[in-house]
């Protein structure tokens, strides 16, 4: 006989939904706040009752010759893409070697790479500046691509390693006996199967580089090489006030490509990050 009141299952669902909603509000409210501010016309929006909605901030950011938004965007795109491609390539081949081949140091290498990425960036950026100055690299894309690659390669390596570990070794062995060279095994068998892992490593490295602030601030000087996070932070109003509308419009435009990428490829990212967590 059914008991009166709300069934236990429904209660559970309500609680789960409420928890999820709370989490969403917590995570998304800054994002919506940013969108809202970017769409309002007045800088003193916090203290007014009536709000006018406008796209002026967006057109201003995109067209103003002094804000250099498109320069920053181009630089971010170049630096993040080149780093992500290079790191993905290096980490895929290295991940395969470390997870499949027997050689001295195969256990130490990933740990060493991980340790390298644990240095606080602030502790190395000063030396990097001096070094890159002497090499004439300061204020170039290369000044960011090299340190970004070194710092993100451990993330990609570990994601790839855990993903490769899921692919049965018998497939490599079968392909070797079937006449494939090591490189053929890598490109014809292992990479196609590890694509979700490799792809999620690519995306995460891309996002990390796209958002990086400290190195970009220290190693680049002007819009020729500065990236979006630095560029946006340097936005100035005409009379020294903070140009909230422009800042938020630029931030929204900087975030949207990442959000879009993540939403489109979320399946791959989840699969990639779950690599090794469950046996296939």
């Amino acid at each position: 006989m059914a008991r009166p009141g709300i069934p236990e299952e429904t209660c559970k669902r309500i609680l789960i939904a409420a928890g999820a909603a709370l989490l969403l509000v917590f995570a998304l409210s800054p994002f919506f706040w940013m969108l809202w501010v970017s769409l309002t016309s007045r800088p003193d929006f916090l203290f007014t009752k009536t709000v006018e909605y406008t796209l002026a901030n967006y057109t201003n950011v995109l067209t103003s010759p002094t804000l250099h938004f498109t320069d920053y965007f181009r630089n971010s795109l170049i630096v993040a893409s080149v780093t992500a491609v290079a790191v993905t390539l290096i980490a895929s081949v290295a991940g395969y070697a470390v997870s499949r081949m027997r050689f001295p140091g195969r256990v130490a290498i990933p740990l060493f790479v991980l340790a390298m990425s644990m240095f606080p960036p602030i502790s190395i950026v000063g030396y990097l500046y001096q070094w890159f100055s002497s090499l004439g690299l300061v204020n170039t894309h290369a000044a960011l691509i090299f340190p970004y690659s070194a710092l993100t390669v451990s993330l990609a390596l570990w994601i790839n390693m855990s993903y490769f570990a899921q692919i049965p070794v018998d497939l490599d062995r079968a392909a070797l006996v079937d006449g494939a060279s090591r490189m053929a095994v890598l490109f014809k068998i292992v990479f196609p199967l590890a694509l979700p892992g490799i792809f999620s490593a690519f995306l995460l490295v891309f996002i990390a580089c796209f958002n990086e602030f400290l190195f970009a601030l220290m190693l680049t000087i002007d819009p020729f090489a500065q990236t979006l996070p630095v560029g946006i932070a340097l936005f100035e109003g005409l009379h020294g006030e903070v140009p909230w509308g422009n800042l938020m419009a630029a931030s929204a435009m900087a975030t949207l490509p990442l959000v879009a990428l993540t939403l489109i490829f979320q399946k791959y990212i989840v699969q990639g990050l779950m690599g090794g967590a469950v046996k296939g």
């Binding site: 049965p168 018998d170 062995r173 079968a174 070797l176 006996v177 494939a180 014809k188």
Partner: protein, 372 residues
């Protein structure tokens, strides 16, 4: 073209943080062209390592491996031919089909790696021939995930035959199939090997598979060949206690004891379960050789249950199982579990066991090897 495979004094060691682990010692084998040679042993005995060394997936630590006229591995002379240059084909227990490729692409894969690569028309024709041979033509456009275990196994075999390799290497290829399918595939595999006439090295832990498939078998344990011979020869004349127990199902019954004379001066084997009367000639031989202790072995089908006092040994039948065509009687003794195979149903309770005197095996109690 069928090739011989020769292994001379092959050793294999692994080096770990805890030191050196020897997994194979002094393996020498000559496998004839067209032969179906079975490596039989329990898991961890090194049989798969041996197969991997023939394939080139593992390097021997010492010794040499020759396929046909070509030395493919000889660490002493610095020779090691990569697996992809050996022209051998391997079938894995896990099938190892490439999951992102169709059956057609899986079977074609070895051909696409050939240098120079054959024309697409030739590859297509050979894939269709292999598929026809294994009756999987209608599966060519499916992915491995859409196939049953038996179908996957056929595809794996198709991928092995398509290249017309010098040698087939099979690593427990039937272990993942259910019992009925395994029996069927076993017969088909044997027929296929005969038809193609390709030298085959087959690894299994299943003695039934070894007995039914092999032209010859090598029984391995702890990295050493225990016995090499035809299945019938190994079954009839096991060279040591390990082979005696491992080959045959149910395994050979063993009784360990002291060679003594009873009160009637007859030679008996005094075991923890009582005296076993030895046939006159065997008893005399053991006494003449001065054997004080030995292990007596007899297969279940060479023991006849008789009335107590009528056989070589009196004991008690605990359980009788009807396995369809025959009965298996079990005796739980201090010496271990003894099984008797009988055509007529024995009754549980006190019984005598009569041993076929010409089917007794005697093993040295210390070395555990056969005594002539």
């Amino acid at each position: 073209m069928a090739c011989s495979v020769e292994l001379k004094n092959v050793d294999k060691s692994f080096f770990t943080l805890r030191g050196r682990v020897d997994v194979m010692r002094g393996i020498s084998l000559h496998i004839e062209p067209r032969e179906l040679f079975v490596l039989l042993g329990p898991s961890g005995c090194g049989k798969s390592t041996l197969l991997n060394m023939i394939a080139g997936l593992e390097k021997p630590t010492a010794g040499s491996i020759t396929i046909g006229d070509a030395v493919v591995a000889d660490p002493g002379r610095g020779v090691f031919i990569d697996p992809f240059r050996r022209n051998v084909a391997m079938v894995f227990q896990s099938y190892a089909l490439y999951p992102h490729m169709t059956v057609r692409a899986n079977i074609a894969f070895p051909l696409t790696n050939l240098k120079p690569r054959p024309p697409a028309g030739d590859i297509g024709r050979k894939v269709r021939e292999a598929a026809r041979l294994l009756r999987i033509e209608e599966l060519l456009d499916r992915k491995p995930a859409e196939l049953s275990g038996g179908q996957r196994q056929r595809v794996a075999i198709g991928r092995a035959v398509v290249r017309e390799p010098k040698v087939f290497l099979m690593d427990e290829p039937l272990s993942n199939l259910d019992a009925q399918l395994r029996t069927e595939m076993r017969a088909q595999l044997k027929e296929l090997q005969r038809r193609l006439g390709i030298t085959t090295v087959y690894v299994t832990h299943d003695q039934m598979e070894a007995m039914t498939l092999g032209d010859r078998i090598a029984v391995l344990n702890e990295g050493v060949i225990q016995q090499l011979g035809t299945p019938a020869g190994v079954y009839a004349h096991p060279s040591n206690v390990f082979v005696a127990r491992f080959v045959g199902s149910p395994p050979m019954n063993l009784f360990e004891g002291a060679v003594k004379r009873d009160e009637n001066t007859r030679v008996v084997l005094r075991t923890a379960d009582g005296d076993i009367l030895l046939p006159e000639r065997l008893g005399a031989d053991l006494v003449a050789q001065g054997k004080e202790r030995c292990i007596l072995g007899i297969r279940p089908e060479h023991i006849e249950p008789v009335a107590a006092g009528q056989g070589n040994f009196d004991s008690r039948i605990s359980v009788v199982e009807n396995v369809g065509s025959e009965y298996l009687a079990s005796l739980f003794l201090k010496s271990g579990h003894i099984v008797v195979r009988a055509q007529h149903e024995p009754q549980p309770g006190p019984a005598g066991l009569r041993f076929a005197s010409d089917r007794l095996h005697v093993f040295d109690a210390g070395a555990r090897s056969s005594v002539e």
